[in-house]
Amino acid sequence: MSRPDVKLQFETAWKYAPAPESTDHVRIDPQYELFIGGEFVAPRKREYFDTINPARAVTLARVAKADEGDVDRAVAAARTAYTRIWSKLRPAERGKYLYRIARALQERAREFAAIESLDGGKPIRESRDVDVPLAAAHFFYYAGWADKLEYAFPGRRAVALGVAGQIIPWNFPLLMAAWKIAPALACGNTVVLKPAETTPLTALKLAELMRDIDLPPGVVNIVTGAAETGAAIVAHPDVDKIAFTGSTEVGRLIQRKLAGTKKHYTLELGGKAANIIFADAALDQAVEGIVNAIFFNQGHVCCAGSRLLVQESVADEVIARLKDRMETLIIGDPLDKNTDIGAINSAAQLERIEDYLRIGQSEGADFYQSSASLPEKGYWCRPTLFTGVSQSNRIVKEEIFGPVLTIQTFRTLQEAVEKANNTPYGLSGGVWTDKGAKIFKMTRNIRAGVIWANTFNKFDPTAPFGGYKESGMGREGGLHGLAAYVELR
């Protein structure tokens, strides 16, 4: 219960001064080529596209557009590297290369973090503290497995698949590259990777890094481009495995194309996770959990907790505290160390989010945004809440992929489970309660690949990650992640 005339005031006389991360150590070339066979080579048709800094809506660099022929060259380079070098290398040697990649990533962490924020719009606090360290951690983790596969699969012989075609999204560009490349190489595969067209720069910097640490040519090839480039990888007859992270829509297209082929595949797709808060939870920490669940990386997170389910008796209190907390979230320059919420990744994504904001309001939902002022240039969206919604609202059913939270209440545990599962997705979920037994009851009954208890959006290379239902097939990370890159004999 709270008095209506009482309100905390977060507009303060003491303001934080700008604290921009220095970019003196960052080198971005005006133009990037394709990384094929250990060298940067121009695309055959000499076509390029711009990659944009979404916080300023200015071009950062021109990037090569790979067509079918370029993809064919890349696959050929990967095949040659596989048959001549990588498959013949002692497993411990593969591990050594992975360790070198991991260490080099740590050494260049500041540059990678700054470029990730410049190209993708995410706050430097996240790229510095989450994306880059986790990417290095993935290489370290899978480096350790390279010569221990017989222990990962006791009694079986794990054989590499060959050439892996990997297509990754724009929300965690470097981290997704690490998720894909590290287990593939550890298991003895070679790679053709396509970063997303809006965020290719850290993958290209990673290519420079691979060259600098003397990774044998062709083991990792990076081809940039849009949907057609990805389609060419999926369709290429000499690719043995497709690993895709992205939208469910594209995932369906890929699965359709791969049906009836010998290609192995893993798909990590969309989500619409329920974040469930019981009345007995540590409510202030749960509010922090809501913020981490939906406003982390501007909500561009497939496992975001985008549907809040809060027990009726504490709903008003939780929403009031959440609104206070949202007032303290700083939106702005991704390179400022104090920024909590950066830029929306692209004009197209902003348009998509704004469509949903309109849909939500026209559906009659109550709309709330924090009062933060937004920069004039670039693509921005205030943290947003929708209350007064039900399971049938489109904003509750469909993945928005932005800083937009829908809030529903529930009375009983059964009702929470039912609402949580009433979605075609099943990637993640969150449960907040002070009772251990309730946690286990919930995690047994919610059909999602990852469920966090009293926390959210925690990642570790040892933990498998992946979805139920339309959130995907297969698992990445941990031992499960190895299984996706070997054939067991």
Binding site: S2, P4, V6, T12, A13, W14, A19, A282, Q285, T328
Partner: protein, 309 residues
Amino acid sequence: MQLAVKPWTPHLPVLDRVTPVDEVGVEERVARFGTRSIKKDAKIHALKLALSMIDLTTLEGQDTPGKVRQLCQKAMHLHDAVPDLPHVAAVCVYPTMVKVARQALAGHDDIKVASVATAFPSGMAPLSVKLEDVRAAVAEGADEVDMVISRGAFLAGEYQRVFDEIVAVKDACGQAHLKVILETGELGTLDRVRRASVLAINAGADFIKTSTGKIQPAATLPVTLVMLLAIRDHYYATGRRVGMKPAGGISKSKLAIQYLVMLRETLGEGWLTPELFRFGASSLANDLLMQIVKQRTGVYQSADYFSKD
């Protein structure tokens, strides 16, 4: 519609219904405050604000009138080499030194005299003795009284007794402001810290304070955050603003600024004032001064340039 609100009166709440605290979550939140980068003008503002919030403290058995007078001199003249410095909020002494401090601060009504009381630091005395202790300090001229709760009674679950004691002390304080020391280093869990905060606030505390400084750990960021959240809940329920005083263990500017960041992002503008936030500290003032001089001149001065009183 404006609801009619009853005036607030002291009462013991049902402590079993106090919101639970997740220690891991609190530590994560605190770590976030630590990543705020406070530079340039923002830093100078924070350093000066922190200076103005200090309860300059000496609580030693070996305190002498001379030492207390020196402390008061420091309170009035922090570092005259730098213009436009604020003065500290208060000096904090034992009851027997209140009179000395009062005289030394004559003409400086804006610097308060705070006195610890209620058989500080252990609180292990009969209530009648504690109340006499308080009355003596107030009679000598204390503007503020820092009491300790009976941790033994609190840990034993005798909440009503602890509550009644605070109510009685508050009554004995008269016009003097009451700070209630929870001695969080002896409470063991953040859940107990939150309950003790709720209890003290509802018993009439004007301020809640972490520690005596005699027990380790003294003030920490997680403990202070939990206490700030209890203050926030009371504010939303009643409209009454209760103050916060972390004490002990805060000797560096960087840490003090982290406390202020936490305060700013938890309670906001209303609490960024010495009226509602204090640092119980002795050596913090000189570190803040050193940083202020560094911000002005670009170089650190030797510690010998700052008076140690």
